[in-house]
């Protein structure tokens, strides 16, 4: 049914593609825009900026989020910054360099045209955010300040203390609020999308549950935009918010949307290590800390139990500086994470369970003074002290990698439309821009780029001929989807075993973290594929979900999400097994260079793996479609940060 995947990349030289595409895209006149209902699910940077901008253009937007306010979407927790090729530092940056760093950082597993467009519009984002009143850091002159970030040799990151995501999201939320007040956007907070309605092959609506009352509703639209974020919580412990989930994109996948590169999950190197089983989430310490902090472990295992201050300089192994002299502590995330795992596997880890490495600020404090360090990272040091009870100005922080971001997501073309016409997917929920590894400060850039400056241009290409085709919600396709949603809820509430929801989710997470985490191999992945169905059966047999459906029922909310994770985990593992190479965050132990770096296989795997759901009721092995990646501008090289 699905033929060759056409990414619809425009012709012409790389640098002209986006301009040419815009010039030839469809337009919808202002009087007609209000005849279109656009459904947007999610209010993070991507969804929020898209809703605000489309509302401003005159479309009728219905915007949904599971949080009690759109301002609470998880973009809010991003700390470090947002990249833009402004070259304000005169240090050699350009659109091309940001493009090149991003495509290289992604280990050559993303599309040139998408990434170039991202770098191109990055400069407009900063202009837009400043105009909205985002209080970016400034120099004494009043000009905008920049900092450097992992995977780059220029300073192109804009930031607002350690709360850049918060400030960008609040800027975007304020723009959204303006449209809500203007009546162009109708906001549905605490409303979760539970299914996608596909009618004659087109996405034309969603089924939702009002989380406050439990009421199931249906909404029809001329197009559906998913901006529901990533699936990192499949691992149970991650830096994602508790509510982050894959339900919307997984439902869309089951309705025919292809899921691309699900095995590309980013493990962030600088998180606070886990302290016990009760732990509900992991907390990120911004990567920006690596600008001034030095990462080390003791050279000898025997020193690991000693207080860090008692370990002399000569007995410390600054392993990132040693292995990657030109990037040092700023080596990209996947490389830094694996290096930490490696030293811990050697028994040289520190802290509880030996799963931790030091991030030491002593030299930076000596060089710059505590005041400067506090100015740069004060709030992060406070967070660290709250969680661990330790003062990082005096003793080094302990950090360990944790699941942080998912590069995979629903497959989309250059217009950000999935293979299901009318279904657009933006932000972390799609797969499009980060390849096999995302560089720091690029997620915020992607979220705002698409919402403010891409989707408003590409959406009309689909919409223009769709005028007057919006169905009513009494159509059979809506009723069927609604019936399925209700049946699933009823089934969840019928369970009354002895297992808690969290215990099964934790079990799934531990399995994936162990076999499908920082390092993977075929045997482990096959073993995991054998275990997931059993865990799924255990869930449906033994889990206990209290309460009823027509109520505020947080257990039921979470149960539905865990049920979807238990299906999605199999897809992710299948993809990890099928991609028989190492690239970026996907490290297959069978494929490494003599010194332990990821070894790509461009001949066989320079392609996007897009999976089609198979099965009717039962989960069967999904069908693989490949979209070859064509590199016309960049030369594929072994990624080196030495």
């Amino acid at each position: 049914m699905i033929g060759n995947l056409d990414a619809k990349i425009p012709d012409g030289p790389l640098a002209d593609k986006w301009t040419r595409h815009k010039d030839h895209s469809r337009l919808i006149n202002p009087n007609n825009r209000r005849k279109f209902d656009i459904i947007i699910v999610g209010t993070g940077l991507a969804g929020g900026s898209a809703a605000a901008t489309l509302g401003e253009l005159g479309y009728r937007v219905k915007c949904f989020c599971y949080q009690d306010s759109p301002r609470r979407a998880h973009s809010i927790a991003a700390q470090g910054g947002i990249n833009a090729a402004k070259n304000y530092q005169n240090d050699g940056d350009s659109v091309y360099r940001l493009f090149y760093d991003t495509i290289k950082g992604g280990d050559f597993r993303s599309r040139e045209a998408n990434v170039y467009r991202l770098a191109e519009v990055s400069v407009n984002i900063i202009d837009q955010c400043v105009a909205q009143g985002v209080p970016f850091a400034r120099e004494y002159s009043g000009y905008l300040a920049n900092r450097s970030f992992g995977g780059a040799q220029v300073s192109r990151t804009f930031y607002a203390r350690g709360q850049t995501g918060q400030q960008l999201l609040l800027g975007c939320y304020s723009a959204l609020c303006r449209q809500i007040a203007a009546g162009t956007v109708q906001m549905f907070p605490q409303t979760e999308m539970l299914d996608l309605v596909v009618l004659d092959g087109h996405a034309k609506g969603i089924v939702t549950r009002d989380l406050k009352t439990g009421k199931i509703d249906m909404y029809s639209g001329d197009a559906v935009v998913l901006a529901t974020g990533g699936y990192g919580n499949v691992f149970y412990l991650s830096t994602n918010a508790r509510g982050c989930n894959a339900t919307a994109i997984h439902r869309a996948y089951k309705r025919g949307a292809l899921f691309a590169n699900p095995c590309f999950t980013q493990i962030h190197p600088t998180c606070i290590p886990q302290s016990g089983d009760y732990q509900s989430k992991l907390t990120l310490m911004s990567e920006s800390l690596r600008n001034d902090g030095r990462v080390w472990v003791p050279k000898r295992k025997e020193d690991c139990a000693k207080a860090p201050n008692e370990i002399p300089e000569s007995a410390r192994d600054y392993y990132l500086e040693r292995k990657y002299p030109s990037f040092g502590n700023l080596a990209p995330r996947d490389i830094s994470s694996r290096a930490a795992k490696e030293v811990c596997d050697e028994g040289r880890g520190v802290g509880p369970g030996g799963r931790g490495v030091y991030l030491d600020f002593a030299d930076a404090i000596k060089r710059l003074g505590q005041e400067t360090i506090a100015e740069r990272y004060g709030n992060l040091f406070e967070v660290y002290e709250k969680i661990t009870g330790e003062n990082a100005y005096e003793v080094p922080m302990r950090i360990y990698p944790a699941v942080h971001y998912t590069m995979g997501g629903l497959w989309v073309d250059y217009n950000l439309m999935s293979n299901v016409p009318g279904l657009f997917v933006i932000g972390e929920a799609n797969f499009s821009d980060h390849g096999a590894n995302r560089l720091g400060a690029s997620a915020l850039m992607q979220g705002l780029a698409v919402g403010y400056f891409v989707l408003p241009y590409t959406l009309p290409n689909y919409l223009a001929p769709q005028i007057g085709k919006r169905p009513e919600t009494d159509h059979a396709a809506f009723k069927d989807a609604e019936r399925e949603v209700r049946a699933k809820i009823d089934k969840l509430l019928l369970t009354s075993g002895d297992c808690s929801l969290d215990s099964i989710h934790r079990e799934l997470g531990a399995l994936l973290w162990d076999k499908c985490g920082m390092a993977r191999n075929a045997a482990g992945l096959r073993e995991t594929l054998g275990k997931i169905p059993a865990l799924r059966e255990k869930f449906w047999r033994e889990v206990r979900v209290p309460g009823k459906g027509e109520d505020f029922n947080q257990s039921l909310e979470r149960a539905g999400r865990v049920a979807d994770f238990l299906e999605f985990a199999e897809l992710m593992t299948t993809d990890a097994l099928e991609r028989d190479e190492s690239c970026g965050a996907h490290f297959r132990e069978e494929h490494q260079t003599p010194d332990g770096e990821a070894l790509r296989n461009d001949d066989d795997f320079a392609s996007v793996f897009a999976w089609e759901f198979q099965g009717n009721g039962q989960i069967e092995k999904p069908k693989l479609h490949r979209e070859p990646l064509h590199f016309e501008t960049v030369h594929l090289t072994q990624r080196s940060y030495k």
């Binding site: 400043v130 105009a131 607002a160 732990q279 505020f552």
Partner: protein, 251 residues
């Protein structure tokens, strides 16, 4: 560690609520307050009792979702910080802990410890923005902002919108919340064109939502997880008076 909990249980907005006693056993001192509640909820569920409804999301103090009053203090005693950043090592073993929702007339109870804070969204919708159309922004460095002003704007903009200020205030005033947004935008040149209409509309909305007025008790500042200074309330009053005066002169 072991604790005795007294938790506010209330089925919905209409039903009466009351404090119910629970026990939290074998809790790690390194667990967060919300993780302690997760453990209690897991046990309640497996015993066939209904788990305690409470709000949380990011669990790192930035999203503003969590909203508990612990022993009478909004977000508990480890200020500054949201209740998700409160750790059990801050309590005595065996201590009795009373947990209630944020008590504000304008925040109706949804269930147990969960309240509806949409009133805060409506205050922002009334005018807490700069009307900058996507596409019309000038080059970012063409707008210079003195670092000092920018820093003050950032301090105000750090508000996480949790509503603890109103919960802690004897008058259930949301003036710290409103003043933070007004001050953030009033300190930036970009915010100037809408400066007067913004403050007037936001204050009118705040009053219409039923929030009280400030009588300088500073409880809001004491519990604010984002350390928003109560001096911004003075700024709000100044901005409001200035706007009203300018309006009256223009009329």
């Amino acid at each position: 560690m072991n604790f005795k909990l007294k938790v506010w249980r209330q089925q919905d907005r209409q039903s009466p609520g009351k404090l119910i006693a629970y026990e939290a056993r074998d809790i790690s001192p390194n667990a967060s307050f919300l993780e302690m509640l997760d453990v209690v909820n897991e046990q309640l569920t497996l015993r066939g009792e209904s788990p305690i409804a409470f709000d949380s999301d990011c669990r790192e103090g930035i999203c503003g979702t969590c909203s508990l009053t612990v022993n009478g203090e909004a977000h508990g005693k480890d200020h500054p910080g949201a209740v998700c950043e409160l750790y059990m090592r801050k309590f005595r073993d065996g201590e009795t802990i009373t947990i209630e929702p944020f008590r504000v007339g304008s925040f109706p109870i949804v269930k147990d410890l969960v309240v509806d804070r949409s009133a805060l969204d409506r205050i922002v919708q009334a005018g807490g923005f700069i009307s900058a159309r996507a596409g019309s922004a000038p080059e970012a460095n063409s707008i210079l902002v003195p670092k000092h002003e920018s820093d003050i704007a950032m301090e105000a903009a750090a508000c996480i919108g949790c509503g603890a200020c109103a919960a802690a205030c004897p008058n259930a005033s949301a003036m710290l919340f409103t003043s933070a947004k007004v001050s953030h935008l009033a300190h930036l040149p970009q915010g100037n064109p809408e400066r007067e209409s913004r403050v007037i509309k936001m204050v009118e909305r705040m009053d219409a939502e039923g929030f009280g007025n400030c009588t300088n008790t500073y409880e809001c500042e004491a519990v604010c997880p984002a350390e928003i200074s109560a001096s911004f309330i003075a700024k709000l009053n100044r901005e409001y008076a200035r706007a009203k005066f300018r309006r009256s002169v223009e009329e």
